[in-house]
Symmetry: C2
Subunit: 142 residues, 2 copies
């Protein structure tokens, strides 16, 4: 089982897995728990490791290659739980227009010595400022 030393490590792995459409890497980020929750933009709330996995499997099987930039992180952390709010800028490679920005809330818990994701709630927002042009962009992921 992969262990993440901090919520940020876990978050970085989450967005790397998303960018690579790597299902095993994605599910290594999530707690193996019946109460994990994932809300994809506009979608229903998925509850439980199996339901969350199945939704990512379907998303990834389309084979779209994504470019993911994450910015404006606001983090709140206690000993055993952490909440990050981020803005996601996701583009499908080969498509001229980026998708609408997404505001995401990511919640992590610490257990067994490592941090895992327990909640991802993404929602589209037309009212998020577009990221600055590439040269000045604070690129979290490569």
């Amino acid at each position: 089982m992969k262990l993440f030393a901090s919520p940020q490590d876990c978050e970085t792995a989450f967005y790397e897995a998303l960018e690579k459409s790597d299902l095993e890497a994605m599910m290594a980020v999530w707690a193996d728990d019946e109460e994990v929750m994932c809300i994809h933009p506009g979608g229903a709330r998925l509850v439980g490791h199996a339901a969350v996995r199945e939704a990512w499997r379907r998303l990834f099987e389309g084979g779209a290659r994504l470019t993911v930039h994450v910015g404006q992180i606001v983090a709140m952390q206690s000993m055993m739980m952490a909440t990050h709010s981020v803005h996601e800028f996701i583009a499908v490679r080969g498509e001229a227009r980026p998708a609408a920005p997404v505001i995401a809330t990511n919640v992590y818990v610490r257990s067994g010595g490592g941090w895992k994701m327990v909640l991802h709630h993404g929602s589209p927002s037309a009212r998020v400022e577009a990221p600055p042009p590439p040269e000045g962009r604070p690129k979290v992921l490569h």
Copy 2:
């Protein structure tokens, strides 16, 4: 300063304040912190007590009387932080059609002996099941 003995007490007060359009009761729910965050459905992310207050003030000044039902709560709690995921069914009194269901993530932290809200992230979802008819409805708020 109002203290809430549990995240659930805080959440109940949040939805009661929403239903009453009571700005002071609403802000008594929130931590007095520069990092509190509120995302209204489809809106931008508001950060900080002052920005969150101003948005609620504007929402409430319209004087709409709301009926709020909250259900399907999934709660995760550690010693100092708690995360609740809920479905909100909000209707404006006098309007025949309810608004779209909202999926909300609410995060609470414990400090100074009480619990306060630090994050509310609401997003509309057409893919949430409508609540059961009133007679069978698990009504959390009155």
